[in-house]
Symmetry: D2
Subunit: 363 residues, 4 copies
């Protein structure tokens, strides 16, 4: 049973393969009246592209989005918004060996067995290019949320064991796009870039950790007992390729804390009941507390490496070796930043609508 739609009220359906004609997404559930043009989407798609960052000056016109429906005279109409990015002609022959040689760490063989046939070119549907649709939908979600004072930002906090020192939210906002690794601690960023360079030389790849922060989220998002806000965020983030773990607030560290340490006490501040600490990461009992939502995802090293790896020819059943050539990110976390933002934004937009903070037909 198909699984290419995410969300309940803010519904996102992505489609497309790495080397097919195009990739895209249909977003159903955006209220009417939201100012929207392609530049809002393009900005995020540009962040998603290889080696991009606001610091980078290089501009090319690849991955240009076209809005096909749901927007009229500069405003959303409440109808489904269809967006598409054409694939440029690529040298698909470079992937011919993938028909029979499964790459370790990839789902090549699993797709082949599950579906009998598959588009092997560039990983087909399981390629990272599929996230184009997520980022385009996320751009609408982020734009919608911004009208309600909600900001979603992600940044790399660890790469190859290099841990960034803690940064304030404003520092994160200021610095995240300053380096290609998207680490707000610029000193750590330098070391991370060096580690990436070294890994490339070895033909190997690196993993890391990405943190996602959402501020301005009102109290009361989340639908117990199954559609809890953290449960939906967990699914959204784990559905991104290469993510092997996630945590909210104190996360795994909470497993070693005492209740008296973990519990965020209640105090009165400016006449409001709030907490001086945020070990909960902005979510308790599956409902947002009004404090920033903080979650972290563990990203495995890029499975495609040029180092020799053991594998098996699916036709002959003979063991052999494979070297994955062609352009591959030596590490995924920096590129995962806009995708993680997109997925969290989609979940928040969905729950803002579900909880009635955003009216369904027209803002």
């Amino acid at each position: 049973m198909s699984g290419n739609t995410f969300g309940t009220v803010f519904k996102v359906t992505t489609w497309g393969e790495s080397h097919g004609n195009a990739l895209g997404v249909v977003v159903d559930g955006t209220p009417a009246g939201l100012l929207l043009d392609a530049s809002v989407i393009q900005k995020e798609l540009d962040r998603r592209r290889p080696g991009q960052s606001s610091a980078s000056t290089s501009r090319n016109e690849a991955d240009t989005v076209e809005i096909l429906s749901g927007v009229f005279e500069g405003k959303t109409t409440g109808m489904p918004i269809s967006m598409m990015v054409r694939n440029k002609d690529a040298n698909s022959n470079a992937y011919d060996y993938l028909r029979t040689i499964p790459r370790p760490g990839h789902a090549d063989m699993l797709y082949r067995e599950k579906y009998g046939t598959r588009d092997h070119r560039g990983g087909g549907r399981s390629s990272g290019r599929e996230t184009l649709g997520r980022v385009a939908a996320g751009a609408i979600a982020k734009h919608l949320l911004s009208c309600y004072g909600i900001t979603v930002v992600a940044h790399v906090i660890e790469l190859d064991g290099i841990i960034a020192s803690e940064m304030s939210f404003s520092e994160v906002m200021d610095n995240v796009e300053k380096t290609p690794v998207r680490c707000a601690d610029l000193k750590a960023a330098q070391r991370m870039m060096q580690a990436i360079e070294d890994a490339c030389k070895e033909g190997d790849s690196l993993g890391g950790i990405v943190e996602v922060i959402a501020t301005g989220v009102p109290r009361g998002l989340g639908e117990p007992v199954f559609d809890k806000l953290d449960a939906d965020i967990a699914k959204a983030l784990m559905s991104i390729g290469a993510v092997k773990g996630l945590e909210i607030g104190a996360g795994f560290a909470s497993a070693r804390m005492k209740g008296s340490q973990m519990n965020d006490p209640f105090i009165v501040k400016d006449g409001q009941i709030t907490c001086p600490t945020n070990n909960a990461g902005g979510i308790i009992g599956g409902i947002s507390t009004g404090l920033p939502i903080i979650c972290r995802v563990a990203v495995k090293p890029t499975p495609s490496i040029s180092k020799k790896q053991r594998t098996v020819n699916m036709e002959t059943g003979q063991e052999c070796e494979v070297q994955v050539h062609g352009r591959h990110d030596p590490t995924i976390p920096p590129r995962l930043v806009p995708v993680a933002e997109a997925m969290v934004a989609i979940v928040l937009a969905d729950h803002m609508l579900r909880s009635g903070f955003i009216s369904p037909s027209s803002i």
Copy 2:
């Protein structure tokens, strides 16, 4: 928008509050022809009960399940299976202070604000007793999966920083129920029990980590790109109260590995293509690989502690202190074991049906 149903084909809807008339669950989507009687459910509910374990000899008749529909002459009929457990009269007055005093680490205030009113008795819907329905549904899922050679077991691998040494699957199966802490490393279990005793004396609570293992899962479960098997497991586990993080396979450790270390190579064994390692935790690209599925959840310390904590009276707006008295688990991981098993089993049953490994109407 309501969120009390989980699953797409194997649909689980739980209902009930801690001190209401009853708690229960409706399971829709179990194929006809499965041998089933109340004892299958009761066995798991007994494991869920306070201070239970197969080692414990004490038997009392609390939390007795009644199957109300969907079973005829000892077999499922394919119709919804409704199950109910009556609540025994409890001293609800003991919770009167909860009407106005939110407990740190609990969702008391959030429910009050979101819904305007709430059943505060014993935490109402947000009580751990809600898991009764999950465990009853999970018992059916586990029973159904067992007909297809799939076993799901969970155990405590860390508590208060005490780390169990790695155990073989058979050791886990043999030992998990031997101690109340449900840790298969019996030496570590002793230390954990001591830690729990100490925490009780201090009026404090402890966190820990629970590992869930599923064996016999066929290749090919999981529906890219959003309903990936790991994404659905992530939602299922994160929807359990007190869970603040989860990981699959190498999980967060993979963030510090190189691609050449993380990738599980392919080899030929007994004429089958498989992997000598399982860093992926049995799932790649969101699809099961045929190797055991291994995931771990971080469980925060019980928020209810008898130690004094700072809070605020929601009526008067005055800061005050609260001590949460009455019976509370000093630590949650041992009790979470059957619940985590249930949720993973529910996800696997759902995907076995979605992928066509189990036929929808009749087994």
Copy 3:
């Protein structure tokens, strides 16, 4: 794949068999703060019972509903509302022949083939008793809608070809419960009752037409292009046993009208834009117009008749005859009235929530 849940925000899940332990329903999505007690439900269940009507004075305690969850101190809490009706011990042996002899017009053989096994007693899940859960859920929907000025009422407008003359809405409200046939035209009602008596004598059964009217429905309910209000009403009504057709507004008569006759012109009345006619039946383009919603369902004659019918023994494969004895309604339309009201009310409650006319968490 299971199909026992109806609705998207106001979610109704029914369960139970005719001769099982109990029947019931879980209603998920009722906002918190609605005054509710069992009498609200019982009133509708009493209308559903055989030979009941507000005119009838006979009161017996059969089909007594118990609210098991979701209500606290007389108000809904926003949590799932579970309701149950115990089945009285019935003489199930009377149905033993159904194990092998399929009744014409019934799904006996289809259930047997689809599910391999089935609860044959009294029709099991396919019995009219299943509507108990629908009516209980509908009672909550009607009660919720009444807070927003919406009334849903159904009445029999044709039986065995006897056509009731048109009645005003107030006449319908006044008269519908005055006779057991629930026809507001009391003269026609007398003739209908005579027809029923005659049919009983012949051991035969009668069909008819039920009209459902909903007043006070605001403009703007319905979600194009698939979840149109009339599309959801069509599914809701067609999901009731014995319904073989339905129409909205002019319905089938519109097939013979010219556009200039069918179109409801727009006029200004009391400063509002409205229509002097309602051929549309209150829905255009799948969206409510603010005028009364009017739909009619065609109800086939009761398939269970004591007249001899041709059938086939499923075990032996031999043709034979069957006479369906025991208590059967000679005609269904009068009993379908509360069920049709319930289903339309459930759809309207769902769309009131979907469209934001009712806030999701708390009214």
Copy 4:
């Protein structure tokens, strides 16, 4: 809450407006391995186009479909299939008056009120052009079903009160495309075409009835108690614009039949249990019986007519008159034929997958 997706396993999401950049559909849930190219889709889209029929020789290249994803080397891959049709530049200014003048029988004002803003050009989303996506998706469904021996065909059986005489299934198959009115009774077809001509002269429009027949449907499709096959067909057909009623089998006529007339008796034929009659229309208790599925929809006359009609200027609130000029079908039933086939095929494909008759990942 958005409603542009239909189906549970075979999921269809349509998008696009009459005068936007393009219209299209994403079909998620088609198993891998189905031979498919654009010609399969184009054939059905050509049938949908104005004034087309297999008899008509005129061929123009309007409404050319492009398959954007989900097909590789001539076969489906199990991934979402995205299809698009570009809109040709149209004279949108012709519709400027629609900004303020609602057309009787249209949802213009309702969209404006519900969404605040709308694309008024050519009816925007509520235009009949939206059915392009349905027909494209239906073409895949029909193609998939044909692999399992299932045929879905629709034809006009009544127009402006002219009733076609009953035709055999083969006559319907042979004749339906022989005339533009798609009536298999060629004599009646001539009279219908004359009636259409007359209506055009008067600047008026006509309604009619379309019958949909599905043969080769196996026993056992349909998921009680809500997702019954007839309930899902009812929703599918009622979601088509201009449909005001529908019936299955004997339909409304059954309301005037006795049980002894309506019930289809069981007999043995060629060693199989079947029925000599099909008053049920191929569905009993919501489950397919194996006999042909027969349903009819009542189609109202085209609301757009050039005759003067009363309406109100939404800006000024003044009553006025409107004449809807431009190209309009004088009657909808002939054009509804491929759309009705598409919707029934989509429901059948969905239920073939839900019931396990078609395996979900690969055929």
